[in-house]
């Protein structure tokens, strides 16, 4: 299947951030987490969950790839490597690029998968997390 989209966007890197790691953000994370919300706040503020990077993913700067297929977009999967610790006061930046666009055919018909790769680095340049995301677009 020939997929029509802006192929020039493949591999082009887009920066996002800075994303500041603050006590307020940790508190908000704790409100979402059923486990951390039960732990004493003073303890949860001592360690920053590396999963916090994932909160920034929907805010990343990404191009419109002008995909001409389907009318409904779903989150299909995610792979996250946690590589180093984060602490309160850190400032993270993210670099994202479109890595792959491909099609598959399932019971419900054709689907187009869009994959993005993102790396988070700290202000010191340490790699904090690599995240691969996959979205699927279908015709409903």
């Amino acid at each position: 299947m020939n997929i029509e989209y802006d192929k020039n966007e493949l591999g082009i890197k887009y920066e996002s951030g800075p994303f500041l790691i603050t006590e307020g953000l940790i508190r908000k994370f704790n409100d979402i987490s059923h486990i951390r919300s039960k732990i004493k706040e003073s303890e949860t503020l001592m360690t920053v969950p590396v999963q916090i990077c994932n909160l920034f993913m929907p805010s990343l700067n990404r191009p419109n790839i002008k995909l001409k297929f389907g009318n409904s977009l779903f989150f299909a999967g995610q792979t996250i490597d946690f590589l180093s610790d984060i602490k309160i006061g850190d400032s993270l930046t993210a670099t994202t690029n479109l890595s792959k666009v491909y099609s598959k055919t399932g019971r419900s018909g054709k689907m187009v998968f869009i994959e993005w790769e993102t790396s988070f680095k700290s202000q010191a340049g340490n790699l904090v997390s690599n995240i691969k995301e996959s979205f699927v677009k279908i015709k409903v």
């Binding site: 953000l25 908000k28 994370f29 409100d31 979402i32 987490s33 059923h34 486990i35 951390r36 969950p49 590396v50 999963q51 994932n54 909160l55 993913m57 929907p58 805010s59 009318n71 409904s72 977009l73 779903f74 989150f75 299909a76 999967g77 995610q78 792979t79 996250i80 490597d81 946690f82 409903v140």
Partner: protein, 137 residues
Amino acid sequence: MTENEYHLGDQIGPLKYMISEKDVANFISIHDSRDSFKRFISEKHAENEKFPTSIVPGNMHLIVLSDFLISCNNNIVIKKMDMIFRHIMKQNIQLYITGFITNLLTEDNMKTYECDITVKNDEDITLIIANSKFIIK
């Protein structure tokens, strides 16, 4: 089995879990541009985007799976999480999360556990398949 040790084939969980509208609202409140999140808090916007109802944002699932592992052992430090979403996850439904230890390995001189995780609904439909690597500090 001690609290700080797992063996190949050990089961973790099951954990009953529910993601409420309030959890989703808390998640969305973190983000500045909230327009793209309307489908998660408004049934009308969800329907416009061909969803049957308001669903759980995909990026929230990592928090759910992290909660699952840490609820079983709060000394777990997650090193990797690989998730495949098989069905949309509606809000306010009962979830059952179960894990099985599938591998023990040494990475960076640390004993590392590999765990397959499934998230199912009340009808035993698998919503998420995941694989995690973690250490115990």
